[in-house]
């Protein structure tokens, strides 16, 4: 039993931290977020050169062959830097789905380009009525010759505007809401019939609504087995949920340290507000919430890493528990950071609000606390 990072992991961590330190001050991030692209292609190339884009992929396709802990290390540091480049959308979701469900040809076609930073991807899963149910979709792909015709609309597609290609979850059989009958399809984002309209989220991301109007797809657009797309999709979503929780922990650490620092310098009533015991005890509460989140993250990551030979119900329970904890702790840490910063924390100018907005977004992606707690309860007490 040990909780130390390997030497390689420590180097990875330092490498991301150094990038943030050197290239990601508040001002440059603000400009990035306001830009049309929403992120920096130059940074993306740097990620490729530093090898980060290869981390989760198998060595057979040129990847680093990293595990859940390696991804966690990267995400936590990206979180501390509030990095907006679409690592989650392109590498973990798009790349992750191709690695998980794709055949050798698809993997070779796409993953080397993801690793080289040559392609942007997205995963289009959400529909207006889905809320948090991945299976509750009505976008449909009907057979047509050897291939498919795709119709429907996806919403809040992360990185949907910049993406060159999309993985789309579509119904090829079965009833609305059924896990069976969902297929994953690789769609060229510029194909005829694909229409995208972009807008921003509070965390600075550019996302898109994507309409598919009689989009014709060849047989090789199918990722994995027909009708059996739910299982790989859920598995990838679980991995990415873990990664997002690691990002959230990084954000919480940053918010806590920034807040502690601020209270030491801000004076009211003739003294630093850090000297007020009521505030001290609240900062202890946020510190403890952060440490408890770290513990559950380690627990969930270790059990995910070992889940092949481990109890997979326990692994699921750990993941659900973690997302619940991120929801609660994230709320507490975010609220206290804003409140203890006072008026200045409520302005767009200070970074603290932007960290809180990203934290709020992560709390919701792939199911909020209530959703995961209900799943946890189902596994535990039903």
């Amino acid at each position: 039993m040990n909780f130390d990072f390997s030497e390689e992991q420590n180097m990875l961590k330092d490498s991301v931290a150094r990038f943030v330190q050197d290239h990601y001050d508040a001002h440059s991030r603000r400009e990035l977020v306001a830009s049309e692209q929403g992120f920096d292609r130059g940074n993306w190339q740097m990620f490729a050169e530093l090898g980060w884009l290869s981390i989760p992929f198998d060595e057979s396709v040129g990847g680093f062959g990293g595990d859940a802990i390696d991804t966690m290390v990267v995400m936590q540091e990206l979180g501390k830097g509030l990095v907006v480049e679409p690592f989650v959308a392109t590498v973990l979701l798009f790349g992750g789905l191709i690695q998980k469900a794709g055949n050798t040809t698809q993997q070779e076609n796409w993953l080397s380009r993801v690793i080289a930073g040559e392609v942007q991807g997205a995963f289009a899963f959400l529909e207006r009525h889905s809320r948090f149910e991945l299976a509750d979709i009505s976008t449909a792909a009907t057979a047509s010759g050897d291939g498919f015709v795709l119709n429907g609309e996806k919403t809040v597609v992360f990185n949907g505007l910049a993406a060159d290609a999309l993985v789309v979850s579509a119904r090829t059989a079965g009833e609305a809401g059924a896990e069976d009958g969902i297929s994953l399809l690789l769609v060229d984002a510029t194909a005829p019939g694909v229409e995208r309209s972009g807008y921003r989220l509070m965390d600075g991301q550019l996302v898109a609504n994507v309409r598919f109007d009689h989009v014709e797809l060849a047989a090789d657009a199918l990722l994995g087995e027909r009708d059996q797309g739910y299982a790989p999709m859920q598995a990838v979503v679980d991995n990415v949920t873990l990664a997002l929780c690691a990002e959230a922990l990084g954000i919480m650490e940053k918010l806590n340290s920034t807040t502690v620092e601020y209270t030491r310098t801000r004076e009211q009533f003739g003294v630093a507000i850090a000297s007020f015991q009521a505030l001290q005890h609240r900062m202890v509460d946020t510190f403890m919430a952060c440490e408890q989140t770290r513990s559950l993250l380690y627990r969930a990551v270790c059990s995910a890493k070992n889940s092949a030979d481990d109890d997979s119900v326990e692994s699921q329970r750990n993941l659900h528990a973690l997302k619940v904890m991120v929801d609660r702790a994230g709320k507490l840490v975010g609220d206290e950071a804003l409140q203890l910063h006072g008026g200045i924390g409520m302005t767009d100018e200070l970074e603290v609000g932007h960290y809180v907005k990203r934290l709020m977004t992560i709390r919701t992606i792939f199911g909020n606390g209530d959703y995961h707690q209900a799943k946890f309860n189902q596994l535990s007490y039903a």
């Binding site: 959400l126 207006r128 009525h129 809320r131 948090f132 919403t155 809040v156 309209s197 972009g198 807008y199 921003r200 989220l201 509070m202 965390d203 996302v207 609504n209 004076e267 009211q268 009533f269 003739g270 007020f276 009521a278 505030l279 709320k331 804003l338 409140q339 006072g342 008026g343 924390g345 409520m346 302005t347 767009d348 100018e349 609000g353 809180v356 907005k357 709020m360 977004t361 919701t364 992606i365 909020n368 209530d370 707690q373 209900a374």
Partner: protein, 388 residues
Amino acid sequence: MDTQFSAEDLAFRDEVRQFFQENCSAELRARLASKKTSREAQVEWQKCLYERGWIAPGWPVEHGGTGWTATQKFIFESERTSADAPDVIPFGLKMVGPVIYTFGTEEQQAKFLPRILRSDDWWCQGYSEPGAGSDLAALKTKAELDGDEYLVNGAKIWTSGAHLADWIFCLVRTDSSGKKQEGISFLLIDMKTPGITVNPIIGLDGGHSLNEVQFNEVRVPAENLIGEQDKGWTYAKALLQHERTAIAGVAGCKRVLARVIAYARAEGGLIDDPAFQRRLSDAEIEIMALEYTELRVLAALSAGTAPGPESSLLKIKGTELQQAVQELWMEVAGYYQGVLPDADGVDHSGHEFGSKACISYMYGRATTVYGGSNEVQKNIISKAVLGL
């Protein structure tokens, strides 16, 4: 003890309800909601209330008030929020107006009050400073008497609507020799006076309502001083308690909750989720209680008692609950909680409910800080009520 409405109260309720139905049209509300037309529509609405004689229910009758009982005021406020009618902008009608009719000279009353009632002047509040937030009395903006003018230098911050205002009421330091609560004066300043610069502050909601206001050798006629020089803290304090009572916003909180419930009913059966129901009622039950806490304060007020430390309780609980229902709004919106409208306020996502949730949530974070942070309110209750 009795909280039933009398027949007269019920008749009054019908009268008020009818007024809102007839005058607060959907068209007006649409103009109020749009950034470009909101100011003009707000003035139009306030003038409509003025014509009806209902613009200043809290004022004494002799200055243009309504003479309503506490119950009537409560009914008016409930009906207003039920009708989705906007509140009046508080700075003139609820803040400086009462200070002027209580502490101002007859000349000041004659000059300012009618223009406030008619919404001819738009006011803003110059209290907080960069170094004096919750510790308001630490303010440093200086006013020195120079002949029959004050020479004002310094800066105010978090000034809502300063970029739109005609006048600002300021706390300024006229003496630094004594305790920090002493030597503060209450001054009315024309925003067009040379030497005033207004710098916008963009909030977490991405919008511009707050400002920093700089005063550089600004000359203010001495006749614009309220009451005695160096006694401004006394006038401001009385006002703060009224402000806190108003910040509680119980009726508005009920209205937002009702909207959240309606959306949860309409969209995908979230209303049937026991966990969500529980979150709803956690908030609703506290709001039901706070509604009666407010009534108790109102009843005491109408019996002639000035709002005391209970105003701090109302402020703390009221703002916590506003934030709680804003959070529910976000939760109901799910993935759409974070979608943003563009810079002109136009929604391109197709999820307007979500973008409004986000703006309301982010804007609402400030309520537990302004009007004296909730921590300061707790210090006040601790000292004044519990004697600690």
